[in-house]
């Protein structure tokens, strides 16, 4: 297998910010991502669970495999964003096929 190393961003954000963050990813050159719904969680602000009330408070996970420069730009933006809003981002290395896609 011809594998090359790329960066994987895992971004946990509140539901209300999802499209905001997705727009940023597009702007910063991230070419693809997938979003997953969290069902519950806990953190510095206490615990939460998905429900029909309390709009916007549940967390989504955005997974984006991308190249190093785009990842760095997204991180810079997110650093700022997370100084106001809940959530976190983590970065790791992954091996992918078809490097040109990322």
């Amino acid at each position: 297998m011809n594998l090359v190393t790329r960066k994987k961003l895992e971004i946990f954000v509140e539901a209300h910010a999802l499209s905001h963050v997705e727009r940023m990813l597009l702007n910063e050159g991230v070419k693809g991502w997938s979003v997953f719904d969290g069902v519950e969680g806990a953190g510095a602000h206490g615990a939460w669970r998905q429900s029909a009330v309390d709009g916007g408070g549940d967390m989504r996970l955005i997974i984006a495999v991308t190249n190093e420069p785009a990842a760095q730009k997204a991180l810079a933006w997110l650093k700022d964003y997370f100084s106001d809003y809940r959530g976190l981002v983590c970065l790791s290395d992954v091996q992918v096929l078809r490097p040109e896609r990322f």
């Binding site: 905001h20 069902v39 309390d54 700022d80």
Partner: protein, 329 residues
């Protein structure tokens, strides 16, 4: 004595309807940490269904009644209550509690805004005891959702633009004016008002006989959510608790007097009081999370969802109705 007696027996009758008992069941199950749960997507749909019915039926009745001056007066009163009471609530909270400005403003926004389910339960209560009310109160409900949120932003003022994410203002405006619940409520009202009797004939079986059952299911879920919220906030300040139990009475009193003043019927007066007394737990938190992310969500959710909502549902509604009856008759 007579009044107290009748309020008491009305409250007791209210407590023994299926809808209220399902709420109690949810609370009990939640406190016992049962794994009973209405799946989230379904619960969200039940909420949308309630919106649709309330809006549509209100619209049909408004179509029947035509545009009356009463509608305008009710709407103006509702707007005023939603926009002005947050200032009073904020001032009160700052005096009696140690909440920071931002959280106090967020709480005030919740209490100025309204709870659709409390409104639905009150409507059913009135129907159950045979008190009439106007269809356009559904429009007043819709009108009262957002002014309180704007009031909170005014209160916080410059501080609202926390951090570097002011582009979020667009998101906020959209959230406030175009949140799903509000759009469906208003849209259904308009559809009801346009299609009138003909539309009602087609949807009657959908919006009427099911409503009670869906309300039961949703209240069951609310009971579960409220008790979970309660469990997550073990050390609420006593003063905040007192606020969550007395502010509704205050707001209801003001709304009742004002409604009587402008000549609303006993039924409409009751609903206006319910709207004023109820606190939002869907639209307002969503807006506050965007606009005031540093406000403590634990506080505003616990107060509105876990204290004020059950209080209004179990005790407030019959009380406000009795007061309206007394004032208007």
């Amino acid at each position: 004595m007579d009044i107290f007696g009748s309020v008491g027996s009305a409250a007791a009758a209210n407590l023994l309807t299926p809808a209220i008992l399902f709420f109690v069941l949810g609370m009990v199950a939640g406190l016992l940490r049962s794994d009973l749960a209405i799946p989230e997507q379904v619960a969200k749909t039940l909420a949308l269904y309630l919106m649709l019915c309330i809006g549509f039926k209100g619209g049909v009745e408004a179509h029947r009644a035509g545009l009356s001056s009463e509608l305008l007066a009710s709407g103006a009163l509702g707007l005023a209550l939603s926009f002005l009471t947050p200032f009073a609530a904020f001032a009160l909270l700052r005096v009696i509690s140690k909440l920071d400005r931002t959280t106090a403003a967020a709480v005030a926004a919740h209490y100025g805004s309204v709870s659709v389910v409390t409104f639905a339960a009150a409507s059913e209560y009135l129907r159950g005891i045979g008190v009439e009310f106007s269809g356009h109160m559904a429009a007043v409900l819709a009108l009262m959702e957002t002014p309180a949120i704007l009031a909170a932003l005014l209160i916080v003022g410059g501080n609202a633009s926390q951090g570097a994410h002011n582009p979020r203002r667009g998101a906020l405006l959209r959230e406030v004016l175009l949140n799903g619940a509000a759009v469906l409520l208003v849209g259904s009202f308009v559809i009801g008002a346009i299609t009138g009797e003909r539309g009602y004939d087609r949807l009657e079986m959908f919006v009427n006989p099911l409503f009670q059952g869906v309300l039961c299911l949703f209240l069951l879920d609310m009971g579960l959510v409220a008790s979970r919220q309660l469990a997550m906030s073990p050390n609420l300040q006593f003063n905040l608790l007192a606020y969550a139990l007395t502010w509704p009475l205050l707001a209801a009193a003001i709304a009742t007097i004002a409604s009587a003043q402008i000549g609303l019927s006993a039924g409409d007066t009751t609903l206006m009081a319910v709207l004023a007394a109820s606190a939002s737990y869907i639209a307002a938190p969503a807006a506050m999370r965007i606009a005031l992310p540093r406000a403590d969500a634990g506080v505003y959710l616990s107060l509105s969802l876990a204290i004020t909502f059950p209080f209004n549902l179990l005790i407030g509604i019959p009380l406000y109705q009795a007061a309206a009856d007394f004032m208007v008759r």
